[in-house]
């Protein structure tokens, strides 16, 4: 064949087909190790789809033949139809490979994806059912948690105090620096921007009102919640997730212990205790930030600042913020631990569910904040 002749003239072509009719010869040459696979593959594609008669495969010029390349060649040759024999000092593993090609079953056809409208509706339906199952799962989880808390009244040991203490330390105390810093800085920014606008009306002093109401009612608790969601929400999901992957939660169940009691409830309680404390600290640092800016930028001396602060606070300002803290804590902790308990199978699932935990808890916190805002307006709190 003309094409074969062209190939046999090419220098170091990995394979060269010669012959005609019933007698064929395949000369292998050049680098036949795994490194030469790319080139060999290209040449293999140029072979005809079928050959009659006999094919002699000559290995004498093939350098460092590798198993993978030999396998690719044998698969191609076995599909040609000709009777194949090997000469020229074929590699020692050829026998093994010939045996494997003989045992080989034809590859199964890959399942095709169905793109019809029916399939899309079915997909949507399955997704909807899945959401329903998830919602039930959340309710189930919440119920179990409440059950454990209920049992703690009769059996105080169920409240794992040392575990609780550890989590209060990790979610609360170690968060103080970052929460303080962020509350301080954001308050400075708000005061600074507010001051720009208010000084146009000569109403500088109202910066204090701005800072007080913004920090105490909204920003203190919201910023704390977002930071805690990122820090502790992910930590809860990741810790419990790895325990799921390591079968530690199964071991607990096998020993008759309830993972909800040991792992989930201490975390939830710890966060519900720690977050209001963190909120108070954030409030304080926020007010301090506003005070510092007022002093440096607007030259409002501290006594005047504190006087104005007391004027602008009503009986509800502080509590409107603080009351949200345990609610946010509950949301964050439940989402974090629930997603952690869902982890199965692989590291990728762990990563995905940790991400979901953080994103969902932040979303729920902001949603709850919006609902609280509406509620407070309605009841004039």
């Amino acid at each position: 064949m003309a094409r074969g002749d062209e190939h046999s003239r090419t220098i170091e072509s990995p394979l060269a087909l010669q012959g005609a009719g019933e007698d064929w010869r395949l000369n292998l040459a050049g680098d036949w190790s795994l490194a030469g696979m790319a080139q060999i593959e290209v040449q293999l594609r140029t072979l005809p789809a079928a050959l009659r008669g006999t094919l002699v495969c000559d290995w004498s010029e093939a350098k460092t033949p590798g198993i993978g390349t030999a396998w690719a060649l044998l698969l191609k040759l076995s599909g040609l139809g000709a009777k194949v024999s090997h000469t020229g000092n074929p590699p020692h593993f050829l026998q093994l490979l010939l045996k494997l090609t003989a045992d080989r079953h034809a590859a199964q056809a890959a399942p095709t994806t169905d793109h019809s409208i029916e399939a899309s509706v079915g997909h949507l339906g399955r997704w909807a059912v899945l959401q329903g199952t998830h919602a039930r799962g959340v309710l189930d989880f919440f119920g179990r948690m409440v059950t454990v808390l209920g049992q703690a009244f009769a059996r105080p040991r169920a409240l794992r105090v040392s575990s609780l203490a550890r989590h209060i330390y990790e979610t609360g105390i170690t968060a103080i620096p970052i929460v303080s810093l962020i509350a301080f800085l954001i308050s400075v920014i708000v005061a600074y921007l507010g001051a720009q606008q208010l000084s146009r009306f000569g109403a500088d002093i109202f910066v204090v009102d701005l800072v007080t109401i913004a920090v105490l009612r909204e920003m203190g608790v919201l910023l704390t919640a977002i930071i805690v969601a990122g820090r502790s929400g992910s930590a809860f999901a990741a810790e419990i997730g790895v325990m799921q992957l390591n079968e530690e939660t199964d071991a607990l169940r096998a020993m008759g212990m309830n993972p909800i009691e040991l792992l989930v409830v201490p975390r939830v309680l710890a966060l519900v205790i720690a977050m209001p404390c963190l909120t108070v600290i954030a409030d304080a640092m926020g007010l301090a930030g506003g005070g510092l800016l007022s002093l440096l930028n607007l030259h409002i001396p501290l006594p005047q600042f504190t006087f104005r602060l007391r004027e602008s606070i009503s009986s509800t300002t502080f509590w409107a913020g603080l009351i949200k803290a345990p609610v946010f804590a509950l949301l964050i902790a439940m989402v974090g631990t629930y997603r952690g308990m869902q982890v199965r199978d692989s590291a990728r699932e762990l990563g995905r569910l940790t991400t979901v935990a953080v994103v969902q808890s932040i979303f729920l916190v902001i949603l709850a904040d919006a609902l609280f805002a509406v509620l407070f307006v309605q009841i004039q709190f």
Partner: protein, 279 residues
């Protein structure tokens, strides 16, 4: 096989004076080791004697406090980046718990080193995955499964398939039969012997499994007191060191040795290799 020609054969792995310390605890204190071409070398020792630490030192996953490790004559400390890359491709490793990448299917795990070093079309990669699956006795359909769906025996085989995918000449196995039922463990031993002879591998195997030791290993290195005592199995059976005596003459050892004798000793099919003890 033909590994038993004495000191003129250059060792594939040469470890000299290895020292590994964790804080105040010294695990290896001047450990020497030679692995000859085409042999199956067993590494044995009590828990805590640093078998896995030794393996990690040889693989370069851990830098020892002192000592040298040479693979194929090249000292690990002096390797350039391309040399290290070539070296890493020349050996395959299986880890104790499989260490398959959990988010990839078995076939994708096998293809991972290939994609990294020898990219080729998907078709060829699928054919190569099929080849490696067949070589370790897994079905082609098992390639689509994920590690979490595999039984213990299948995980070990899949890990071996991945270790073989770059066609290495050197294989490191860390407790390959741990956790396997006796039938699977025996099957793994036979698979190892088969691949060892067909692919002309040099194998270094950490194992507690006396049956595997007696069935597959030509020489065994015992880590005792922070050093290695290497000998053939017959030599170790004569050794007077108290720990070695207890290890090889306890009730389990007797049963395994008996089974090894009735099967025909070891992969070489012949008797002890005539290597003298080192260390």
């Amino acid at each position: 096989m033909d590994s038993a020609v004495a000191a003129d054969v250059a060792p594939v792995i040469r470890v000299r004076g290895l020292v590994n310390r964790f804080g105040s605890q010294t695990v290896h204190d001047g450990l020497d080791l030679d692995v000859l071409p085409h042999e199956i070398f067993g590494i044995v020792g009590g828990s805590g004697t640093g078998k896995t630490v030794l393996l990690r030192s040889i693989l370069g996953l851990r830098v020892p406090q002192a000592g040298s490790v040479e693979i194929n004559g090249k000292d690990l400390r002096n390797l350039t980046q391309p040399e290290r890359s070539r070296l890493v491709q020349s050996y395959g490793v299986t880890f104790q718990n499989g260490a398959l990448i959990s988010s990839l299917s078995v076939a994708q795990n096998i293809q991972l080193p290939l994609r990294e070093y020898h990219p080729a079309s998907e078709e060829i990669l699928d054919e190569l995955a099929e080849l490696n699956l067949a070589m370790v006795g897994l079905a082609a359909e098992d390639g689509a499964k994920f590690p979490s769906q595999l039984s213990g025996g299948m995980i070990k085989r899949a890990a071996l398939a991945r270790a073989l995918s770059l066609e290495p000449t050197l294989l490191f196995l860390d407790e390959p039969t741990a956790g396997l039922d006796p039938i699977s463990a025996a099957a793994f031993d036979e698979l190892l012997l088969y691949l060892h002879s067909q692919l002309r591998l040099t194998v270094v195997m950490i194992t507690h499994d006396l049956d595997t030791l007696f069935r597959t290993c030509s020489r065994v290195g015992v880590i005792v007191d922070g050093r290695m005592i290497t000998d053939s199995l017959d030599g170790l059976l004569e050794n007077q060191n108290p720990w070695i005596r207890e290890y090889f003459h306890g009730p389990r050892a007797r049963a395994a040795a008996h089974a090894g004798e009735s099967n025909g000793q070891g992969p070489n099919g012949q008797g002890p290799n005539g290597q003298g003890p080192n260390g």
